[in-house]
Symmetry: C2
Subunit: 374 residues, 2 copies
């Protein structure tokens, strides 16, 4: 029940048994074209798709390297570990971030971002971390932010690493220029590759202003795909097969059904855990449906609690990051997540509380069960 | 029979069926430590090992980003596609290459490199592509080059992407500061991860002078490994399992046996193909044991020949790169390669020649067979 890598369905694991193929062959071209088309369906976009052989961090860096040049002004809301990292990266590469800070677990009011746009005519891009995995906080106004970027001629870049496939993200409808994720989160495939979508305008800019990098240079990826449906460098072929099968599963289920399932499981988690006595870390209007972060109760020690869950119940939960270490725990609610996972996790948490001598306030399991059966 | 990705043994493919684990768990730490130890054995080094989730090109770029700064003087022998690419990359990042050019298929005399060292007191590093995959040419004086670097206080960086695991490369004995390869070549694992070794001196330099990159920043990898035997970013866990099994196979066979097998197969290929009428592209003293490049004979068209081999005999060979396109063909002699692969490939080539109306000079199969049975 970690916020990634998540469980990988057997169908996806078994797809890696496909014998090794040459990445300069028709077999590979067919595989890659199919992945690109299906990724477009899942991203709800007609934009170009590139699949990198990197983890999510490699995709984050690619989005910065190819778009941000020295002294470019970049707005970025910062309210957790991953948005801080992203802002630091932009600055390291010579960009000038304008950070809209808000307390962890809260999102900034959109007016603050509007204000920066009004006061600065030269904003190159707005970067957002859609789902702050470190705090279980999701930005809930991406559609408006997309409009704002369009109105001010800025690129809109969405880091969707832990959320794409588990919550809404219609890339074209929301005017997202660059969107990327990693396969081991809500897409429920193994880690190691990262799909990224790029709008026509962003692509034009990247082709005209390529970075010195070879490996993370999107211009090369665009060229190889348009010339021959290949990648410029050897791709992780086995992981491409796995990702293709994960996409098949998502498309069979349908994105709307998949998002509803994540939402229902998240609601059940929040309701059940609140009934047990925990309070959600994030504000009500910005709680994530894919990473559920809860404040610890007095008497429950992070290390003891999670060790008990792991050894006695084989349920793995994540702890807090950085300054939240020991203060919160996090439940991944992504990928294959179902009623079974919710009930099993709540049951293990409830039992662990009892073992640690902390009495649950109410019966969290029946509360969650009611939500699941609505 | 391509020069990578090569066939992957079933044991290695099946290792990817291991259920997904958390990359912040003891299971992963055990896996990574084992991989690091076994990679040290295969590299014949006690240096630090980092495993990147990238293709070989990602490792090439990592070696440049972490070691070369603006205006650093770098010597690099250039005699093919990959050494040209590497030299361009160094220049793109602000380094100043001193290119020792030699004709494709030939290596520069070591005196030329010595001369540059003598004339320039400020050489930061010598970069070499050990095996130029594009031309089937291997540098045969790495040991001396290592001594030269040591004598002149320069870092010695060896791109061993297509060769490590198939020919000699005792990293410590040859004073190699940075050495990297990719898993899909002579190591016979799937593509997508790249091991890199770094000497104490190079590590110290990298820690004191980190690049702006996050994803390809070796300082972070060193820190995560020394703190907790982890990688800083989510690794391609399935490929780590596959690589571990590939290392097991290599260690079971023994590096010396493995190198002898590659050498014997390469000798059989060269002898057999010369008997059929082809001439090797590379000079006799620099011929590769892992990529066999041959000049085409009059009357044999590249496309027709390789299509015939592929469709009629299910044998895949590679064509030439860049200016060698249509002029040479290349046989991968790496990884699982055995007498069976040699004889089957020669038989298919010989038959294809007959179909195309080109008479082999002598019976290449019996010549190769004699070499294999010596």
């Amino acid at each position: 029940m970690l916020p990634g890598p998540t469980n990988v369905p057997n169908r996806v694991i078994n797809a890696m048994l496909t014998p090794m193929i040459n990445h300069r062959s028709d077999d590979f071209r067919k595989l890659y074209k199919d992945i690109v088309n299906k990724t477009q369906t899942v991203f709800e976009t007609e934009n170009d798709i590139v699949v990198l052989t990197t983890s999510g961090t490699g995709a984050v860096e690619t989005s910065v390297l190819n778009l941000i040049k020295k002294d470019d002004a970049v707005i970025i809301p910062v309210n957790g570990e991953f948005s801080t990292r992203l802002a630091d990266l932009i600055d390291n590469y010579g960009g000038k971030t304008i950070r809209i800070n808000s307390p962890y677990g809260q999102n900034p009011p959109i007016e603050k971002i509007e204000e920066v746009f009004e006061k600065n005519s030269n904003i190159k891009a707005l970067y957002v971390v859609y789902n702050e995995t470190s705090t279980g906080t999701t930005l809930r106004n991406l559609s408006k932010l997309g409009d704002l970027c369009k109105a001010h001629g800025a690129f809109f870049v969405v880091d969707a690493v832990s959320i794409l496939g588990g919550d809404e993200l219609p890339v074209d409808k929301w005017n997202v220029d660059v969107c990327f994720t990693a396969t081991q989160k809500a897409l429920a495939a193994p880690p190691g590759i990262a799909p990224i979508s790029v709008s026509k305008e962003a692509k034009k800019y990247m082709i005209e202003n390529p970075p010195p990098s070879q490996y993370l240079n999107l211009k090369r990826y665009f060229k190889y795909y348009s010339d021959s449906f290949e990648t410029p460098f050897t791709p992780a072929v086995s992981l491409f097969y796995a990702y293709q099968e994960a996409l098949n599963i998502i498309i069979e289920e349908g994105m709307q059904n998949r998002i509803s399932r994540h939402r229902k499981c998240a609601n059940a988690f929040y309701s059940g855990l609140e009934a047990l006595g925990f309070t959600p870390f994030a504000d009500a209007d910005s709680r994530s449906n894919v990473v559920i972060a809860l404040n610890y109760l007095p008497g429950i020690d992070d290390k003891k609690f999670r060790e008990l869950l792991s050894t006695k119940f084989k349920v793995l939960l994540a702890g807090g990051f950085g300054e939240l270490k020991g203060k919160v725990f996090r439940v991944g609610c992504m990928g294959e997540v179902s009623s079974y996972h919710v009930m099993r996790t709540l049951s293990a948490i409830s039992s662990s509380m009892s073992i640690l001598g902390v009495q649950p306030i109410r019966d969290g399991l029946s509360v969650a069960n009611n939500v699941l059966n609505q």
